[in-house]
């Protein structure tokens, strides 16, 4: 018997020591919900048409180049618009449609067209990998690994396909010459990946001149793709001299390209940060430039002027970046369309990415650099003063601080901007920003009240949200604040949004759902600036007012009611709690009644999303009944949700002028009071334990004790968990657990609560 007990005891001990708990183990990357896009325009298509919205410093060089064109009095041609904003692929394809679309995309790829053409005349010969993927041994014990270097571009496969079709016509599909040609071409493309080096065998004796000429070209190409560029250059020069070769007009051009590749190949590969093919042997590159310049003047009709010019421009961006960047920037700036728009955008991006320093840069280049970097001092303002150009006026205004001496001039200069102009939103936003900073709220309000009605009739946008934020700042009273506080989310990636999705999913799929949440988040939510004011500057009595205000949409009224009610319960404010009770969801109302005592605490324990504050974006309050997977349950302290990267960031509230000093003082006192409270599991658990002392017959007590233990397990313990708080959590957990098991050993709640935490 003794031994049996021992065995049972140790077996139990082992199981207790191994509390494997199955949990959702994916690693979501939550981000704040988006109200104003700062990295890219809302809609590239309308942006390309000149609807620039509010220009942001985080926009990329393509966006800012387009903006500059419009600010410069030009516009994008339809062709340029299609390049900047290509049609988006439909996102809601059925699997069959997706498959068809994928196959269509694959079919037009030159490498696949080559494979298809080849397959008509020969058996498959393995995969072709156009990208060079093999590490290069530098010979000094170092290895340079740059695996995405496109060795064989699409043009190579297009040329091969055209040539194959031509040779079939010349020799016939069953010709041994064609077979020989295909074998040699396979060797050429086998070199693309860099993993193998293959050379075409010489053409058979007595081959026709065309095959012999092709073989010379194939051999040069194979040498080229094998990375033997000097040898390839010599081979191509020989082809250029062979006037009978169908390839002779390409010989010099390809010899120049061999030199370009040689220039990169000979570069000291000691600077892996130099980016895409940026390190090169300058002498070789200049030689290539000279060859291409000569070729541009005298080339045969077999090769196009543009082909040579494109290669030359590529080279000049490296050999004489000042001149080339000036050409690119001038062409992009317009106002006339840029015939080389796509490549110029790419070159501009390259120059900016490489931070190429240019003496006396072209206006567009200088403008983008300044707008993104916001240089200290008056450089941007001075540029506007000197040029009186609109792009510089816009940049000066956007970068101006309230105390800058040039602000009055900027405000005067921008007072008459037409509403239909591309710069209007940017100018209006920053004018209002500066006016608010200068304490000229009435003027700011007038501007906003003129533009907001029309803007509100349009699709939700970053600009609308930004203007609403400004209008909220100049609210004259609390009701006006509530009118402008809600904004439309443009993207949702927050933990609150994810919790709501999970909640809705659970509700839909569970056999007996215990959650109560909407199927999807309402688009209208509070942004950061609104929640800061509501959480830190708004006293409880105004939150009660907000919970019933018709200025807020229903979802936000409920969020405010829940947050304010939890505050009321924590502060034991019977009056406020009772006033809010009718505005709570039925399930909470039914449990809590109008009390702030045990029934209210039980209601909070039953609903893990409850908390005494509001959150920007989709709040956890929206999924209040759902136990969230990542411990965002109940609350700890007084702060709204933070993301880890922002955990150290202190958000200081902006003073809300529409709130009286007394209200702000009360709100601050309430905020401090919340800060002093323990984390929710400990606070709520203590209240349950206190109640339990004198109310052992309460039928809900067993459940409350069990839920307390659950809260200590799954509740948020705060970002900075100190020993004292952890010990308090465990003490409450243990006390609730022991009382539950000692007083209600046969309760189903005791059975559901095997451990404390």
């Amino acid at each position: 018997m003794t031994s049996r007990r021992l065995v049972s005891f140790f077996t139990l001990a082992v199981f207790l020591l191994l509390p494997f708990v199955a949990v959702e183990a994916c690693g979501p990357d939550f981000q704040p919900d988006t109200f104003v896009r700062t990295a890219s325009p809302d809609d590239p298509k309308t942006f390309a048409q000149g609807h620039l919205g509010i220009l942001q410093q985080g926009f990329d060089s393509n966006d800012l180049a387009v903006a500059y064109r419009y600010l410069n009095g030009g516009k994008l041609s339809e062709q340029e618009q299609a390049i900047y904003a290509p049609p988006a692929k439909p996102s809601n394809l059925t699997p069959a449609q997706f498959e068809a679309s994928y196959q269509a995309e694959q079919a037009v790829m030159p490498v696949n067209q080559w494979k298809d053409a080849r397959a008509k005349y020969a058996k498959p010969d393995g995969e072709i990998t156009p990208e060079h993927q093999a590490p290069q041994n530098l010979g000094n014990g170092d290895v340079y690994y740059f695996p995405d270097f496109l060795n064989c571009p699409g043009a190579a496969f297009k040329t091969a396909t055209l040539t194959l079709n031509s040779r079939v016509s010349s020799w016939g599909a069953q010709s041994p010459y064609l077979k020989d040609w295909l074998t040699a071409q396979d060797s050429v493309f086998a070199n693309c990946s860099g993993k193998t080096t293959a050379m075409p065998a010489p053409a058979p004796p007595n081959s026709p001149p065309l095959l012999i000429a092709d073989r010379a070209y194939q051999t040069a190409a194979a040498v080229f793709y094998a990375g033997k560029y000097d040898e390839a250059r010599r081979e191509f020069l020989l082809i250029a001299q062979d006037k009978d070769s169908p390839w002779h007009s390409w010989g010099d051009y390809l010899a120049a390209r061999s030199l370009v590749r040689l220039a990169f190949d000979e570069a000291k590969k000691t600077d892996p940060w130099s980016g895409n093919l940026a390190s090169f042997n300058p002498e070789r590159m200049r030689s290539a430039q000279q060859m291409l310049e000569a070729l541009l003047k005298h080339h045969s009709p077999g090769i196009s002027h543009q082909t040579i010019l494109d290669e030359l421009n590529f080279v000049r961006m490296r050999t004489e970046p000042d001149k080339r960047i000036a050409e690119v920037a001038t062409a992009l700036a317009g106002p006339a369309p840029d015939p080389n728009f796509q490549q110029d955008l790419a070159d501009l991006n390259y120059a900016l990415y490489k931070k190429i320093q240019v003496t006396d840069p072209a206006p567009l280049y200088a403008w983008i650099t300044a707008f993104r970097a916001a240089p200290a001092g008056n450089a941007v303002f001075d540029a506007w003063q000197q040029t009186h150009a609109l792009p510089w006026l816009v940049a000066s205004l956007a970068l101006a601080r309230t105390k800058d001496s040039g602000v009055p001039d900027l405000l005067t200069a921008t007072s008459q901007i037409e509403e239909s102009s591309p710069e209007f939103d940017t100018v209006a936003f920053h004018r209002v920003r500066l006016l608010i900073g200068l304490d000229r709220s009435d003027e700011a309000r007038t501007i906003l009240d003129q533009l907001l009605p029309d803007l509100r009739k349009q699709q939700p946008s970053s600009a609308l949200n930004a203007f609403l934020g400004e209008r909220m700042q100049v609210a004259r009273d609390f009701n006006e604040f509530l009118t402008y506080a809600p904004r439309t989310t443009l993207e949702t990636n927050s933990e609150g949004a994810a919790a709501l999705n999970d909640c809705a999913y659970t509700q839909k799929n569970a056999k007996s759902p215990s959650t109560n949440c909407p199927e999807q988040a309402s688009p209208l939510q509070f942004d950061d600036d609104s929640t800061v004011i509501l959480n830190r500057q708004t006293p409880l009595h105004l939150l009660v007012e907000a919970a019933t205000s018709s200025n807020l949409p229903a979802n936000l009224r409920q969020d405010v009611a829940l947050a304010a009610w939890v505050r009321g319960v924590l502060f034991n404010d019977q009056t406020k709690a009772a006033a809010l009770a009718p505005h709570l969801p039925d399930s909470i109302q039914k449990t809590a009644g109008s009390s702030t005592g045990f029934p209210a605490v039980l209601a909070i324990l039953r609903n893990p999303g409850l908390r005494p504050y509001l959150e920007p974006g989709v709040s956890r309050l929206a999924s209040y009944s759902y136990l969230e997977n990542f411990r965002d349950n109940w609350w700890c302290g007084s702060s709204q949700r933070q993301y880890y990267a922002e955990a150290e960031k202190q958000t200081m509230p902006a003073p809300a002028s529409f709130l009286s000093a007394d209200d702000q003082k009360s709100a601050e006192a309430e905020y401090q009071r919340l800060t002093q409270l323990p984390c929710a599991p400990a606070e709520l658990g203590q209240r349950v334990l206190d109640y339990a002392r004198d109310h052992s017959s309460d039928p809900d007590l067993a459940e409350a004790l069990a839920l307390t233990v659950r809260a200590t397990r799954f509740g948020w313990q705060g970002w900075n968990q100190d020993k004292e708080a952890t010990a308090r959590n465990t003490a409450i957990s243990k006390a609730a657990f022991q009382l539950l098991h000692s007083r209600y050993p046969n309760s189903p709640w005791a059975a559901k609560t095997p451990y404390y935490y």
């Binding site: 003794t2 031994s3 049996r4 021992l6 065995v7 140790f10 077996t11 001990a13 082992v14 020591l17 191994l18 509390p19 494997f20 708990v21 199955a22 949990v23 959702e24 183990a25 994916c26 690693g27 979501p28 939550f30 699997p95 997706f98 498959e99 994928y102 990208e131 993927q133 041994n137 014990g141 170092d142 290895v143 340079y144 690994y145 740059f146 695996p147 995405d148 590969k269 000691t270 892996p272 940060w273 130099s274 980016g275 933990e495 990542f630 411990r631 965002d632 993301y643 880890y644 948020w716 313990q717 968990q721 100190d722 020993k723 952890t726």
Partner: protein, 255 residues
């Protein structure tokens, strides 16, 4: 005699259970899986950034570099590494394949086959020391990854170790890694949000229970390190890239 025999039997069981407890919760130096023993104990991760790792002492340190990113959607897309990497030819190298899941991903035999095919291109590169996969797996995707790893193990070179990165939670309070045909799962003690909330006071309380996770640990250059690293293979991730996160500094800091 019968009572004595029962007593001895019970004591025997108790001893076995105690030993089991000790094994499961032991902080003793972990045994390295057979195939992993030839690898350096310390490995520097090189992610999608230009990196110059020539100064690494290749006798002490290996390199695990992002080799390609594979995206599972309705099809499988593969993107090779985009940034250059320089290292000593003598370095012990582990190509890493990152697996992403795009919206509308389909986990079926076709995507399984294509994914294995893509991963094998990294696994069959010459002179590599191991292969590592980096992926997130939701509960519904686990059977896909289990099958993928099984098939991959079957097709990749037999002596090549197979490593995966693992959320710390997989190694702590989850058991889906159990029995996977891998040589190690590297628990990542960084970017732990929102898992960090489960760790009580310090990382040491994030106890690793899964045997496959016992032999290694993944750290970052900017986040706190656990104290129990004795005998483990250590992977170090540079939050700011190795140009900013001084290689020399971490060479000195690592045990």
């Amino acid at each position: 005699m019968k009572r004595l025999s029962q007593s001895v039997k019970a004591q025997g069981i108790v001893v076995v259970l105690l030993v089991l407890c000790c094994v499961i919760h032991s902080d003793a130096v972990p045994r390295l899986p057979q195939r992993m023993r030839t690898l350096p104990r310390l490995t520097f991760w090189a992610w999608e950034r230009p990196e110059d790792l020539r100064s690494l002492d290749t006798r002490r340190f290996g390199i695990a570099y992002l080799d390609q990113t594979l995206t599972i959607g309705p099809k499988v897309d593969a993107h090779p590494r985009r940034d250059p990497l320089i290292y000593r030819a003598t370095a012990s190298r582990i190509p890493v394949v990152r697996i992403e899941v795009a919206p509308g991903a389909i986990f079926n035999e076709e995507t399984h086959r294509l994914a294995v095919q893509v991963i094998l291109t990294s696994a069959t590169a010459p002179d590599i020391a191991a292969l590592q996969l980096d992926f997130d797996a939701t509960r519904s995707q686990r059977s896909f990854y289990r099958d993928l790893l099984t098939d991959l193990r079957r097709q990749m070179p037999p002596n090549l170790p197979l490593s995966i990165t693992a959320l710390a939670s997989w190694c702590s309070y989850d058991d889906w890694l159990r029995g996977l045909p891998i040589d190690e799962a590297v628990p990542m003690f960084f970017r732990m949000e929102p898992d960090r909330r489960r760790a009580a006071e310090s990382l040491t309380d994030f106890r690793i229970r899964e045997p496959l996770c016992q032999s290694s640990v993944g750290l970052s250059t900017t986040e706190a390190w656990p104290t129990e690293m004795a005998g483990k293979r250590i992977y170090l991730f540079p939050d700011n890239g190795w140009r900013a996160d001084s290689i020399a500094r971490f060479e000195r800091k690592l045990p």
